[in-house]
Symmetry: C3
Subunit: 349 residues, 3 copies
């Protein structure tokens, strides 16, 4: 029996199956510093213990997306090592705050399996749960990926597609955010005068700045998350692949877009849920990422008086300024949108 794991193929998954993922991971101030260096994020709550303490946290929490990437990374060797494509995310909720020193665990349950008519691939739907060293849930999300079959000639007949919510309901928001002393919140330190009540549904915000990605950067990030997907790391293998080059981890684009969104959404201090995400087009090193956002909905998260929830659709583009709020999809020849991310963020009232 070979000791090398080839990853799972479509036939290796069964409905209801639970997979405990390796490797548990303690998140530290070192990971947070790297996260800052990789994206330049400037949200005050995650940046300064003193600011976080002033408004009611015991100290700065770990950045939400860093938690997401670490939990996601653990699932890759079991779920998507043989994936042809990451098709989407849904029902992502942040359930408990993560602080430096906490250890993250991940497990996934297979909730859908649908063979493609080509016989070559199938779609695997999993619900992933991230938890901490106390066994508390910190994160859960659904994702689905197109996975290669081991045997292309034999059809399995699998055709179960789970019903997924179009978005996380407002009642379910805020689990990872302690009560906030909104009156102690300093707009000057946080970086903008605009609070929850200053945003309007339909409002569009150009985040203005651009960020060019280098191979070393996305590789450092993706390894930090212990994400082993091969397409991100081996130029020798990818030279013979679909794109001729290494593909940047989609989560890297999400974090870049979130960091850029500070210019226009500085007080949106916490991502509390991700309704859906779609990597519309691939990103490669040398590409410059821009972003813009639209306010889709506003909600008083479960009736909280300290914070409100903005439902935001952020689009990231490649090599295209967002001044004109573009929606066209990038192609190999043409700049355009590479990411659409629909999420709920909390903002002090």
């Amino acid at each position: 029996m070979s000791k090398t794991s080839p990853g799972n193929f479509f036939e290796d998954f069964s409905l209801g199956q639970v997979i405990v993922h390796a490797t548990p991971r303690t998140v530290t101030a070192g990971d947070q510093a790297l996260y800052t260096a990789l994206y330049g994020s400037r949200f005050a709550v995650q940046s300064a213990d003193a600011f976080a303490e002033t408004i009611g946290y015991p100290r700065s929490p770990v950045d939400d997306l860093l938690v997401f990437h670490i939990v996601f990374g653990k699932t890759v060797p079991d779920i998507s090592l043989n994936a042809v494509a990451n098709l989407g995310y849904a029902e992502c909720q942040f359930l408990n705050t993560v602080y430096p020193g906490d250890t993250l665990y991940a497990e996934s349950q297979v909730i859908g399996l649908k063979e493609n008519s080509s016989g070559k691939t199938g779609t695997v739907y999993v619900r992933t749960h991230g938890s901490n060293q106390h066994g508390e849930a910190v994160l859960s999300f659904v994702r689905w990926v197109m996975v290669r079959k081991r045997n292309e000639t034999q059809m399995s007949g699998a055709a179960t597609v789970p019903v997924l919510a179009s978005h996380v309901s407002a009642e379910a928001l805020g689990g990872a955010c302690p009560p906030i002393a909104a009156e102690a919140w300093s707009n000057a330190h946080a970086g903008a005068p605009h609070r929850f009540n200053d945003y309007a549904v339909g409002e569009k915000i150009n985040h203005a700045d651009g960020m060019t990605v280098e191979e070393a950067e996305h590789q450092l990030a993706t390894r930090l998350y212990q994400n082993t997907a091969r397409v991100h790391f081996s130029q020798q293998a990818e030279a013979k692949g679909r794109f001729g080059r290494r593909l940047i981890y989609g989560g890297h684009v999400i974090s870049l877009a979130r960091a850029l969104s500070f210019n226009g959404l500085a007080n949106a201090f916490h991502i509390t849920a991700i309704n859906g995400g779609r990597h519309v087009a691939p990103l490669f090193a040398g590409g410059t990422v821009y972003a813009w956002s639209e306010i889709r909905e506003k909600s008083h998260a479960s009736g909280r008086a300290d914070v409100g929830a903005l439902r935001i659709l952020t689009r990231a583009t490649r090599d295209l300024s967002c001044e004109a709020f573009p929606t066209n999809e990038a192609t190999p020849e043409q700049p355009g949108v590479v990411l659409e991310l629909d999420y709920w963020a909390l903002m002090p009232v």
Copy 2:
């Protein structure tokens, strides 16, 4: 009203105006590790808790220039987002030691405004104060930048230039350095046998080694400092700009020169003041940085018996060995000096 900040233009500043900068920042061991990885600095006090404790610190302090870059970075969105050029620094003093876990804040006061005769730009002079979570001053410095005007046809008549000291006086040095047990200082661990009394005014030191800078490196550094100046990050925008490529943050060159200076100045463990700094020519990725220093002055800092102060002029070059102590300025075609930095460093007697 747009939520996107376009940065301030020359007309947006007024004499005496005080600007509180976002984002407060807790400096951690993670930031210090990244600083080491970015520059390879080897000064023992900042590298080893055990060494620092032996000579009288409670633990290793954060590297002086890391403190400088973080405070500086905070000022960029308000002061220099629309800057055409960073013209200079003066009167920079390190006032209190910063340890991992401290949170840094920054605010600036406008102390000079001078419109340029072209009508297109003006020079803004600010004095920036960095403080910690206890409200103690840790750093102050003056810098001046050339900023674009919003309206090029209307002259403001601003013509106030502050009087700045040619150098920080010896009496003002040492605020961020506790009393040192010079007799407990190990030359072997610190890396050189030469103490304060071994240096002579006029002495020139070639720091010998060279360091080639990559795009990923200066971008990681500049984002770590949460410095958002656009010229460092967007290849797509800079391709159409003055240089056709991303410009490296001047502070990155300062830190490289300081790290290289270990070979020749290993016992100069603390930068206590910066008298002046000038980015003589730009640096781009692919350039190799060398450095040499000249001892300009020696002083018994405020009569301290533990340490003396060396006033050092360090020059960093691009693609030019410093064996011959070059002073020629680099041009696009010609290797040469890119930085002149005049500072005071402390060294055990």
Copy 3:
């Protein structure tokens, strides 16, 4: 007397000489985070405090190779700044566990000197000792390097070659590993079902994945280790050198190979000794590294009942898949083996 250190030449070493190296270094969670980002290592003991505590450690120890690189790095300015080549390692033992917060010191003794017949160079053999802030030994190893002579015309006659063990004896293993609660070890969290008894002598394992190295990555790593060897950093100097480009620190390849070996050796959680290492061919940026391992020997380390020791020969290749377990040496034109590393790793029974 010049303040700049030119490094030692062959004539500067004497048999029995002891050299105390600069710079002591406190290893932190920040260093460990960078190590993860540089290599993507996934061994559970070093990744999660909670996992380490479950099996008997007080918390996660620092990665063994990070300890090795930091101690090695300190020796470079004194031993190998003028080295033409790193010829080999032997008798490397990990003697005490290193935890974040510990400070590492290094000193070396010259144990062999052999002039080469050309008169231009000589081989210097040193035994290096790494210790912590309590004076406890944490690491010791022998290495030998070919060093330039200052005076090529005068022969020294030095011809002392130390007798070195072909491998570290099984009785000497395990010093840096506390007693392990093997029954508490979770295969699922650690990443593989295969324990000590599942491996057979002669077994070959292809570690499957490939990793392309960028200039920024190996430079960040090598500076993190405060290793100052010039060949890694100055493109301007190396353009005129033997290879025309920067050479990647051999230790970077060792760490890449170890991280890749997780796929097939996930439970081999601790490198307890390195019997020998040889950089068979150089690696440059842009090269993709693969690895495979062969089990050479099995031993019940000093009769421990908790862990067994596997003697492993890991080969890393450049631009060559390890499916066919290649042994050919890479040349400038031809992909092949760049590293052979013979080491002992511990695995729970």
